[in-house]
């Protein structure tokens, strides 16, 4: 019953795209259950898939920021609870390591010849996911505050720092910078960005042996600390949601933020007019005179679980295919993401991600053991930012924590 209600509601919401679903996405039986992150573009895709429910077919979604804590467990059973996980280039690795998602080659041959080739994510010749959007972290700034302080939007982190100092000196804002620095995944991501900006290598070439305890690692940590001194002192508890809240409250003038979350910041209902009309985006910044942007490129895409029946796999494939075609795009959700879907018209808010792609930003590393390093980074960097220990000590802790975990997992 709840599924039916959801389906009815979603079809009403997706009225603009109703015509695309006239044939009920091509299936009328099977079970579809999708787990994924909760940002707006994924909500759109989830609603698009739910609108496919027809006949005896059921389509459910579970979109939550805790998706990575439940997707593997929910796909390991046989039959799997989730028939699909919406993943990114980092999180697909955990699912591939445990072999819970299926290659899509046969489904594409049969039902998906019309999916544009650019959307296919292939690993060793197998299509493992169909990407529907690109994402990156990039600069978001308040035009009015920068003008008041006589500043140009920064193109390097050094300019961001000096700009922040000027805004503070002029008494405009005490904490002019924002950032998703919550200890754990978010903080590790900021390190990853900054380390790539310093042209650092995470591993000894050709091995799974970590090597971040070097001058570039120290410079990375020091830059993160310098930035954090211009942030709300509670920064170690701010994930991207709370950082967005700080922004819409008008407390922040510049921040490095996900493209997928900037759409929300521009919505008139999100904040005072002075905040949302002056919220502008620009490309990612560089650091320490490097050419490479201190950011990473991401795709978000959908997968199909391995441990499900062929009927469920077909229904899942068709529902998500329908949810990521031109039919779901309308004026409201066009700016939610840089869609890889045909028929996408870029909006001003998407310029940050386009600039990141144009600047040749590095894609986030898709290595089977990189998740362990991300966790080790997230667990240890806070000790340096709170002044408990030196940069070298923090980096050596990170290496030791990663090495112990990688040995346990059998990578070393």
């Amino acid at each position: 019953m709840t599924t039916m209600k959801k389906a009815v509601l979603a079809s009403a919401l997706a009225a603009a795209s109703a015509s695309a679903f006239a044939d009920h996405c091509g299936f009328n039986e099977g079970r579809v259950n999708i787990v994924g992150n909760e940002f707006p573009a994924i909500q759109t895709v989830g609603a698009g898939a739910v609108a496919c429910a027809h006949g005896s077919a059921t389509v459910e979604t579970n979109l939550t920021k805790d998706h990575q804590k439940i997707n593997l467990a929910g796909m390991s059973g046989n039959p799997a609870e989730y028939t699909s996980a919406i993943v990114a280039n980092s999180s697909i690795v955990a699912l591939m390591n445990e072999d819970v998602i299926r290659p899509l080659n046969d489904l594409i041959a049969e039902y998906g010849q019309d999916i544009p080739k650019k959307q296919l994510v292939t690993i060793g010749g197998d299509v493992m996911a169909v990407a529907f959007m690109a994402n990156a972290q990039h600069l978001v700034y308040r035009q009015d505050i920068l003008e008041q302080a006589g500043l140009q939007p920064p193109s390097t982190y050094e300019e961001m720092l000096s700009g922040a100092e000027k805004i503070r000196q002029m008494g405009i804002l005490e904490y002019p910078l924002g950032g998703a620095y919550k200890a754990g995944w978010n903080l590790a991501q900021e390190f990853t960005n900054m380390y790539i900006g310093h042209e650092g290598e995470f591993y000894k070439p050709g091995t799974a042996e970590v090597s971040v305890n070097n001058a570039k690692g120290v410079a990375t940590l020091e830059m993160l600390k310098a930035l954090s001194e211009y942030m709300n002192p509670d920064f170690l508890t701010h994930d991207s949601n709370l950082t967005s809240d700080e922004w819409t409250a008008g407390n922040v003038a510049m921040m490095n933020m996900w493209g997928s979350r900037t759409g929300n910041l521009l919505k008139p209902e999100s904040s005072d007019p002075v905040v949302h009309t002056n919220t502008k985006v620009a490309g990612p910044m560089t650091v320490a005179g490097g050419a490479e942007p201190a950011s990473t490129l991401w795709w978000d895409g959908w997968t199909v679980a391995k441990n499900v029946s062929d009927a469920d796999a077909k229904a899942t494939f068709l529902a998500l295919k329908a949810a990521t075609t031109e039919g779901v795009l309308n004026a409201d959700n066009m700016g939610e993401a840089v869609w890889m879907i045909d028929g996408y018209q870029p909006e001003e808010v998407n310029e940050g991600v386009f600039a990141a792609i144009a600047a040749g930003t590095t894609p986030y590393p898709m290595l089977p053991y990189h998740g362990l390093l991300h966790t080790a980074l997230g667990d240890n960097i806070a000790d340096f930012l709170t002044g408990k220990e030196s940069a070298e000590q923090t980096l050596s802790d990170i290496e030791a924590a990663y090495t112990a975990a990688a040995k346990e997992k059998g990578f070393l």
């Binding site: 591939m96 072999d99 060793g124 709170t386 997992k409």
Partner: protein, 341 residues
């Protein structure tokens, strides 16, 4: 009770204990001495809209052959227990040799994740357990002294911290102590320090978590003591009054001795509860400043890559910790009941 009726009486609960407590402990023990197989890595070309790069992936065909041969994984014995992310025997030995004095050794040890989590967990347990019990006792005494009319509402309000779901209660406080929240700004004004942030400093965060722990768990002690107070023999109290004992003397010499068995029981329950402290750390986003054994297990299971063996080893270490902590209380209970017989 006859042995036969005792057996049938106990059977359902013994079965439930076996299935839901003993079996999982055995399973965790087994998991903690096995680790995943050596990964077979192959180099592949991975392509997305951003272009093709040479990358690596786990060779699933080779891995599934390994898994079929040894479904439990590779046997590693105590390797997980002694590695750097748990007991860190090697690192501790090195720290012991190199440390300049005990303080330096202690800071080196607590920099290791397991000992860091242990130091918070033990501090939390050691402070919250007695404080919550003592506070609960005084609330119970206070409520017991109120006129009957006021008791009902007072009991209800005193129980509120326990009624509110821990995650929600902690989340409400998390917002209130924010540097822009009501309590956060209030503290800044009282102390005259506009940059004060409870969430930014480790000692403040520990104090916050401990205060929250006492606040949320003292109603339990209060309810138990309040019930206990109703059973205090009134004859003894009255004769003490006749002898001219002050209220404090009555409490010290009659009420408290009468409530000692209850205190033992509560200490048992609260030590177990507090040793597994988890929700406040999540709700207060306190990961940067405090880890407990439970949050440590949670992190292993919720990271980008799950570490099942590591989580299992920490679970076993937690069980051992609970047993060690409870042993004095258990021994005491054993003696008390032994003497009565």
């Amino acid at each position: 009770m006859k042995h036969r009726s005792f057996f049938w009486f106990m059977l359902p609960s013994a079965l439930a204990m076996l299935v839901f407590i003993a079996a999982p402990i055995v399973s965790v023990l087994i998991q903690s001495v096995y680790a995943p197989h050596e990964q077979v890595i192959k180099v592949v070309e991975s392509c997305s809209i951003f272009g093709c790069t040479e990358s690596t992936t786990v060779d699933q065909d080779a891995t599934s052959a390994l898994r079929d041969a040894e479904p439990l994984g590779r046997f590693v014995g105590s390797q997980i227990y002694t590695d750097r992310n748990h007991l860190a025997t090697e690192e501790i030995a090195v720290a012991w040799q190199e440390a300049e004095g005990f303080g330096d050794f202690f800071s080196k040890a607590t920099n290791l994740p397991f000992y860091g989590a242990m130091s918070f967990t033990l501090t939390y347990t050691a402070v919250v357990t007695p404080m919550a019990i003592i506070l609960g006792f005084f609330i119970a005494l206070g409520v017991n002294g109120l006129p009957k009319l006021l008791r009902g509402p007072t009991i209800f309000f005193s129980l509120l911290p326990m009624i509110v779901t821990p995650l929600v209660g902690a989340l409400i406080l998390f917002w209130m102590i924010d540097s822009r929240g009501v309590l956060g700004v209030g503290l800044q004004n009282i102390l005259g320090d506009p940059t004060l942030s409870l969430k930014a400093s480790t000692p403040m965060m520990w104090v916050t978590l401990i205060v929250y722990g006492i606040w949320s768990s003292c109603p339990f002690a209060f309810v138990v003591y309040y019930a206990g107070l109703q059973t205090v023999p009134q004859d003894s109290i009255e004769s003490a009054k006749l002898d001219g004992a002050s209220r404090w003397q009555q409490t010290w010499h009659i009420v408290i001795p009468h409530l000692v068995p209850l205190t033992t029981f509560m200490a048992l329950i609260k030590i177990m509860d507090n040793f597994r402290v988890f929700e406040p750390i999540v709700s207060f986003n306190a990961e940067a400043h405090a880890q407990s054994l439970s949050s440590f297990i949670y992190n292993d299971l919720s990271g980008e890559t799950q570490l099942l063996s590591s989580a299992a080893a920490t679970s076993v270490l937690t069980i051992i910790g609970v047993v060690i902590l409870l042993s004095p209380v258990l021994v005491r209970t054993w003696r008390d009941y032994g003497n009565q017989r």
